[in-house]
């Protein structure tokens, strides 16, 4: 057991933030609590529960969507709005990663707050162009890709915004795991917009490399303006293993991961050419 001496039920964002500010690195916000229980940090003495701060919501904002940070994977999976968004990729994956009895616990704030390199939710949100709404005395909105690069200690993740304008786009996620229950040896997420048979925008993200989620704009450039054809994807599959920084860890060698990068692009081709038919 850790050295937690206080469990504090915050009643508002202001209340939670004031408590966290007073305690500094001795305090942690609680999402589902899964990670906080599993990997106990002896520095933390106070847990600040956010479940009474009204952060469990999914709201349509124009054509976009805002997801409150206490929202669980199961709620995301069940949300009719998220099922419609970018072909429903986020909703589908929220219902398939981790385990059924954890999907009702894991919160979107907790996955972003922890952001393990192999995490499956963060890279997909980055591909979808998500922004985070932070609270640190006042509200601020920042791109998720920027937030995970330079975290704001103490700031509360209030919600995640999925941008408008992805109505005609398709989200895609492919991950390689050694067993169905295992974490990703390589994670690949993409968002591709297209007009007829021509791609008009693309975000390509790799994670579990074993490094953290990273966008690869150079690969995206190779898709934009090109037709949804085998030749286009074959060229990107050829380039990608040299561009995506992969490494060796206990799960796989760098060489194996390079092959997975190629396989990921070929899976995207299959998905996109299927969608465009």
């Amino acid at each position: 057991m850790g050295r937690i001496t206080q469990y504090y039920h915050a009643t508002s964002l202001e209340d939670a933030f004031a408590k966290a500010k007073q305690l500094g690195s001795a305090a942690a916000y609680v999402g589902g609590g899964v990670e906080l229980v599993l990997r106990r940090n002896p520095e933390i003495t106070t847990l600040i529960d956010l479940s009474r701060c009204g952060l469990d919501y999914v709201t349509a904002v124009g054509e976009g969507i805002e997801i409150g940070s206490q929202t669980t994977l199961t709620t995301i999976n069940h949300s009719a709005d998220i099922r419609q968004y970018a072909g429903g990729s986020l909703a589908w994956w929220a219902g398939h990663i981790a385990h059924n009895n954890l999907r009702d616990m894991i919160t979107v704030g907790g996955v972003i707050g922890r952001n393990q390199p192999w995490n499956d939710v963060v890279p997909h949100l980055v591909a979808l162009g998500a922004q985070v709404r932070l609270f640190d005395g006042a509200e601020r909105i920042t791109p998720l890709s920027a937030y995970i690069e330079a975290k704001q200690p103490g700031a509360i993740i209030k919600g995640v915004l999925l941008p408008a304008g992805n109505a005609g786009s398709r989200g895609f996620l492919w991950r390689f795991t050694r067993t169905q229950q295992d974490i990703s040896t390589l994670h690949f997420s993409a968002l591709v917009s297209y007009d007829g048979k021509v791609m008009t925008a693309a975000n390509l993200v790799f994670a579990g490399r074993p490094g953290h989620a990273a966008l690869y704009p150079r690969l995206s450039e190779e898709l934009v303006g090109k037709s949804l054809s085998h030749e286009t994807f074959a060229r990107v599959a050829e380039m990608a293993p040299d561009l995506v920084e992969v490494g060796t860890d206990l799960r796989a060698t760098g060489e194996f991961r390079r092959e997975l990068v190629r396989a990921a692009i070929l899976n995207l081709e299959e998905h996109m050419t299927g969608v465009a038919q």
């Binding site: 469990y7 039920h9 609590g33 906080l36 229980v37 398939h96 385990h99 954890l102 009702d104």
Partner: protein
């Protein structure tokens, strides 16, 4: 700290440590039907229902359950009054050593409450948290399909 939880429809108050997980509190208070095994969210043995939804009690802080309702497998049915899912597990050979069974039945109950007519794939997904070292899973899936069919006919509960 003191927390109040409705366990199997009975209002209870427990003194808990701020970092104590629900599994440890339930077992300490005599709910020994809730099993612990991996203590890391991997095996599903410890699954209970929190407001009707399945959670891994080994990873949920008991303080998070304050003010909520918890159902253990005994709240679903017991030897004197077994639930149809429990009978179906026995009938279909889905119980061998039995260690995984409280968690498996609890996950099955959550599924059938939400979806009375699940496909085999939906059953496998809803029970992907429940490891079983004995049955090979086929019998458990058959048991849930069987229980679902009987419940739809309105046989019991």
């Amino acid at each position: 700290m003191t927390i109040s939880i409705m366990v199997n429809t009975v209002e209870r108050s427990f003194d808990v440590q701020p970092d104590e997980v629900l599994l440890d509190v339930l077992r300490r208070e005599g709910y020994l039907e809730v099993k612990g095994s991996c203590h890391s969210g991997d095996c599903g043995a410890c699954t209970v229902l929190l407001d009707g939804r399945p959670v891994a009690s080994c990873l949920i802080l008991s303080a998070k359950a304050d003010g909520h309702a918890v159902t253990t497998v005994r709240g679903i049915g017991d030897q004197a009054h077994p639930h149809i899912i429990q009978e179906s597990f026995v009938k279909n050979g889905a119980v061998q050593c039995g260690y995984c069974v409280p968690g498996a039945i609890t996950s099955a109950k959550a599924l059938l409450d939400e979806n009375p007519d699940p496909t085999e794939e939906e059953i496998r997904l809803a029970m992907d948290s429940n490891y079983c070292r004995c049955t090979g899973y086929e019998q458990q899936v058959e048991a849930v399909l069987d229980a679902a069919a009987q419940l739809r006919k309105g046989d019991k509960k």
